[in-house]
Symmetry: C2
Subunit: 316 residues, 2 copies
Amino acid sequence: MATLRVPPAVPSPQEDCEQLHKAFEGWGTNEKLIISVLAHRNAAQRKAIRDAYQATYGKDLLESLLHETHGDFEKIVLLWTLEPSERDALLANEAATKWHPANRVLIEIACARSSQDLFTVRCAYHKQYKRSLEEDVAAHTKADFRKLLLPLVSAYRYEGEEVNMHLAKSEAKLMHDKISDKAYSDEEVIRVLTTRSKPQLIATFNQYNNEFGNPINKDLKSDPKDDYLAALRAVVRLICCPEKYFEKVIRLSLNKLGTDETALTRIVATRAEVDLKLIKEVYQSRNSVPLENAVKHDTHRHYEDMLLALLGSDQN
Amino acid sequence: MATLRVPPAVPSPQEDCEQLHKAFEGWGTNEKLIISVLAHRNAAQRKAIRDAYQATYGKDLLESLLHETHGDFEKIVLLWTLEPSERDALLANEAATKWHPANRVLIEIACARSSQDLFTVRCAYHKQYKRSLEEDVAAHTKADFRKLLLPLVSAYRYEGEEVNMHLAKSEAKLMHDKISDKAYSDEEVIRVLTTRSKPQLIATFNQYNNEFGNPINKDLKSDPKDDYLAALRAVVRLICCPEKYFEKVIRLSLNKLGTDETALTRIVATRAEVDLKLIKEVYQSRNSVPLENAVKHDTHRHYEDMLLALLGSDQN
């Protein structure tokens, strides 16, 4: 369900390096050449290019990209070129150290990655920041948000498909009781959301809907402006239907007066190798226009070209 | 600092299997033969023996051991034969599902293993129990204990040696303020203990002692019978000086009217390949007798023989 398109005959990392080096040479930068290489290589291939570049030219490809590109194009090229775990560690570090209640990046990383991938992010975080992810999250967040975010980013959820229906029933009732009492940050609510496996939680949410006549997220909407409730809803959506969650982030980033490039860049860079095709389908059916059209309307030049390439819609 | 002694020329896993099979044959069991093989092989060698046994005799070596051995000898042989991560997963599962406030096993596993080893235990837990460790801990513990244990077992602490002295000072003061107010389960106290790296925490505890004139654990002793305070002290001791903590567990297990074989077995089986030599030295200097003498005095027959073998004091 990725949108990334890799050509049938991939040049060697050495050849790709030479192309990139050529793109950086002389006055100006050949952005089209950068896009034609990097936007059409998967994570392992990009890693091999970065290694070859270091060996050949004695510096990090990221450094050269930082020097040769600018603005939103720079941001998406850098984010995309990183390994997925490094990229998530970077995003998580920014979100943790400059944390504010409306930021959903930590929740995205904690809930929309596999258990093993989340652990790999924690390993990359050690390496890049000489601290642990949970240490920074705990140090920079407070109160209800900390109670929710700390176990979320520390989780290593079981990933088997087994579901205990008896447990789903009893925990649906527990959630309903607490939500009815507006005890949204009750530790039992947080325990269920942060420790149960995703299939188990989906069964619990289904039971909730069946038993109490409302999707759980509708009951978590009592105050639409409450950031903590919005965070809980994000957890539920990212567990049940990440593609719908991500479609909404993209939709809101484009519908704004002035595009939210940060969000758009993040979602495209983190999902192009995962489920961006699915997100595009949801977008089309929700908005009656292809995502590419909306992107063309709201973005420009090399940034637009890079987005379209990662969306699988350029000529390369 | 292990006590495990592996012979210079180790027989092949196949030969070891044949010896074990011989030990199980006919009427009765040759316990001495079992000990001479298993108590002198490291984790990788025991794993190879178990694999070879399965291939040769079509059943799990643990099953045969369960059938052929009894009582405390059975328990230590089984626990020892398991891979360290499987063993910890088993111990953690017992501790979580039959949890009571005086049980320290989860704290031992969370604090006296490396970050990577603790993660490996969480992986083994998925495989063995089809749930996550933190899920079971959260579901079976309550109140202050849950607030402490859940982040402890979910931690992936940074393991570099870097220490931030400024942070150590401010967090020592924070800990002192909270402890002075008897706010032992304050979330800041728990945050520091469960997320900071071990070198950082040791610096914080040293600062505490320097600034406020008491070791932190002395100030955590206001009520010696309070299980939660005892749990906090165990965390501090396991981070600062695990060998002293384990010496004390062994000492208390032997000093009791009626030996506490469960604790003795657990510590010997989990530390023989790690730091049991150090624990023995602390024991000798604390009690003025060698640990082996105390073990000989309090235990019997094959159980005694197995303990002495793992303590590095048999004839093999």
